[in-house]
């Protein structure tokens, strides 16, 4: 795994800074992600990890530094933002499904309106994705009629419907009841294994990280403290702060 930017890198972040008012939340983030790589980002709440992955599809604007996604630099140019967003799928902690649309409509909306697919094509792909996340029988229900785990699986299908090159997961299991976490993680494992999707996952599910991640990134106080393969992070963390954090969450 390369640590420096190389030609296969699909995401390159260089010295990214971000302030919320006076609060300096990202303090010079450097991270390159190769195509097909699964990167798990972890760290204490308020460490800037969610903010960082939200800058990658411009839900948050970075104020200094450079972010290049699939060869396109994120600037204020609206066309660049639209182009990048259609290549990046995102899954949120609180699902954010559209409550007034059925499950299938949630999934087919963006392909029809952004990619200009026909309804029949969008719905065919939508049904295939629902098969893949294991809930085709829920297609005509509304999100409010589904369990949390089912809603999050719909959210994953919705993001995949745009056929993105990159998937961002912002604490996808944090809002779920314990018995529903594995059904979502299983879908994510399948995604990483079968399709070779590039994935950035903010999570504290260390079992998932150990099984699927190529690299793990530890965030603390707006900076990357440590990057390494899961084996190294778990068995031989280089930094005192990483050790302390891991000992806190693994107990």
């Amino acid at each position: 795994m390369t640590e420096s930017a190389g030609p296969t890198d699909i995401i390159v972040a260089r010295d990214v800074h971000k302030w919320f008012g006076q609060l300096h939340v990202l303090r010079g983030i450097d991270l390159s992600v190769a195509a097909g790589e699964v990167v798990v980002i972890f760290g204490a709440s308020g460490s800037g990890k969610s903010t960082f992955i939200r800058t990658i599809n411009r839900l948050e604007e970075h104020q200094r530094g450079q972010i290049i996604v699939d060869g396109i630099e994120l600037t204020n140019d609206v066309r660049n933002i639209a182009a990048i967003r259609s290549e990046i799928g995102m899954v949120f902690q609180s699902f954010n499904l559209f409550p007034h649309l059925t499950v299938l409509q949630n999934i087919s909306l963006a392909p029809m309106r952004v990619r200009k697919w026909s309804r029949s094509r969008a719905e065919t792909v939508g049904m295939q994705l629902l098969e893949r996340v294991g809930i085709p029988e829920q297609a005509l229900k509304f999100p409010g009629q589904l369990s949390g785990g089912q809603q999050q699986r719909v959210a994953i299908a919705r993001a995949l419907a745009m056929q993105p090159k990159i998937m961002l997961f912002d604490e996808p299991t944090s809002a779920l009841d314990p018995e529903m976490i594995s059904e979502v993680l299983d879908v994510m494992k399948g995604l990483a294994g079968e399709t070779g999707m590039t994935m950035l996952v903010v999570t504290h599910e260390m079992g998932f990280a150990r099984a699927v991640a190529n690299r793990m990134v530890f965030f603390d106080e707006g900076q990357i403290v440590e990057i390494g393969p899961p084996r190294q992070i778990f068995e031989d963390p280089q930094h005192q702060r990483t050790k302390r954090f891991l000992s806190q969450i693994l107990h």
């Binding site: 599809n57 411009r58 839900l59 639209a82 967003r85 259609s86 990046i88 799928g89 995102m90 949120f92 609180s94 954010n96 499904l97 559209f98 409550p99 007034h100 909306l109 963006a110 309106r113 952004v114 509304f142 999100p143 409010g144 009629q145 919705r158 993001a159 745009m162």
Partner: protein
């Protein structure tokens, strides 16, 4: 082994138990129940006796034409019949096809027509009109049956409505057609009331939505103009706006441009109502969680697409009750155009009372006008409840 499933305890009660539980649960409750019942009976008897024995309903039946269409020329009345016919058929077919909400409106339309037919049966205007009204009411139901068969595409019905609005306007006004013009000065009665209300509702709604979006726009100029407009209009009574539209507007327009009086009133009502619609809608927009907009952004939807497909459908749904309340007020506020000399339903009632042989018949005239307004408003509010239920407001 099968698990025993306990049936839920029965919650239905027989009428006697219900009465005892709800109306006669204690001494005080029983006394109040009896007093209120006595009051209601007394009111019903008094009103009923007046309506049957004393009331001079001939004031209403004699002037029924005035109440309905004002001074609209009798020999041109076929144009109104034509419009009504179109409306009845369309309302029926739409109700049959779309169901729910529109069915309430269609049934209300046929109910009003039947009511008017009954009034006309005892009026000297003639049996032909009674039959015409009944025929219209029947057409609504016939249209519903056709609609239920489901053979007419929904798009065609929407298109038919749009075309009919233009056709009805041309029929009533006669503008740009070979048939003679009927100046809007002679439009009156229920006809004018409904025209003012329908035009006001149809035009103020989209305008209000645009203003609400404008007020939340990221462009400072758009935000400033929308906010200024909303605050200015909300700071002024409708009467003032109607006066402005009627008296001041002609001063500002070049001499050769003349907008007729009814159009000015429609404009005034629309502009006034739009500001209130905008504030209602803004309330709905504020209730949309930012996660919804972030999810739409992340999917690559453009700003206008996010508004059109994600934000507005949710926001508008949640403000249906407030907006229908507003439109009911608008319907009743059309009575204010009497101030600028237009004879809508209430105004025509006033002028009928000024006739020598109608002297002293205030109660009859106002009761008749009141009942018509009540039926219209009640239909709107019932339709709104249906619409809320159909869209699942509060449940999803």
């Amino acid at each position: 082994m099968t698990a025993d499933v306990l049936a839920p305890p029965s919650t239905s009660v027989d009428p006697v138990t219900w009465l005892r539980r709800n109306l006669f649960s204690s001494v005080i409750s029983s006394v109040v129940t009896l007093l209120v019942a006595a009051l209601l009976v007394w009111v019903a008897i008094t009103v009923g006796r007046w309506a049957v024995e004393e009331a001079r309903w001939d004031v209403v039946t004699r002037n029924l034409r005035l109440f309905l269409i004002g001074q609209y020329p009798a020999d041109q009345a076929w144009r109104l019949w034509g419009s009504l016919l179109l409306l009845s058929v369309l309302a029926g077919v739409s109700a049959g096809t779309f169901g729910h909400t529109i069915r309430v409106l269609a049934v209300s339309i046929s109910a009003i027509q039947a009511l008017l037919a009954a009034a006309m049966a005892v009026s000297p205007v003639g049996p032909l009109i009674t039959i015409g009204m009944l025929a219209n009411a029947a057409l609504v139901w016939a249209g519903m049956v056709v609609g239920y068969r489901g053979s007419i595409p929904r798009r065609a019905i929407v298109a038919a409505w749009l075309i009919s609005i233009v056709v009805i306007f041309l029929l009533i006004s006669g503008a740009a057609t070979p048939i003679p013009d009927v100046s809007s000065n002679v439009w009156g009665g229920l006809l004018l009331t409904i025209l003012l209300a329908v035009v006001g509702i149809i035009l103020s709604f989209p305008l209000g939505v645009l203003l609400a979006l404008g007020r939340r726009s990221s462009l400072p100029a758009v935000r400033l103009v929308s906010t200024a407009y909303i605050e200015l209009i909300r700071g002024v009574p409708l009467v003032t706006i109607l006066f402005m539209a009627d008296i001041m507007l002609p001063f500002f327009l070049p001499g050769e441009v003349r907008i007729d009086r009814v159009m000015r009133a429609m404009g005034g009502i629309t502009l006034f109502s739009a500001a209130y619609v905008a504030e209602n809608v803004r309330g709905g927009l504020q209730a949309i969680p930012t996660g919804q907009i972030e999810a739409a952004d992340a999917l690559g939807l453009r700003g206008w697409q996010t508004n059109l497909y994600i934000v507005l459908p949710q926001a508008l749904r949640s403000v249906i009750p407030a907006n229908v309340g507003l439109f009911i007020s608008l319907l009743k506020d059309t009575t204010l155009v009497a101030i600028i000399g237009l004879a809508e339903l209430l105004g025509i009632g006033q002028s009928i009372l000024a006739q020598p042989d109608s002297l002293g018949a205030h109660l009859e005239v106002f009761a008749f006008v009141g009942v018509i307004f009540f039926v219209l408003c009640y239909a709107m509010s019932q339709a709104s409840y249906r619409l809320e239920r159909q869209l699942g407001v509060g449940t999803r």
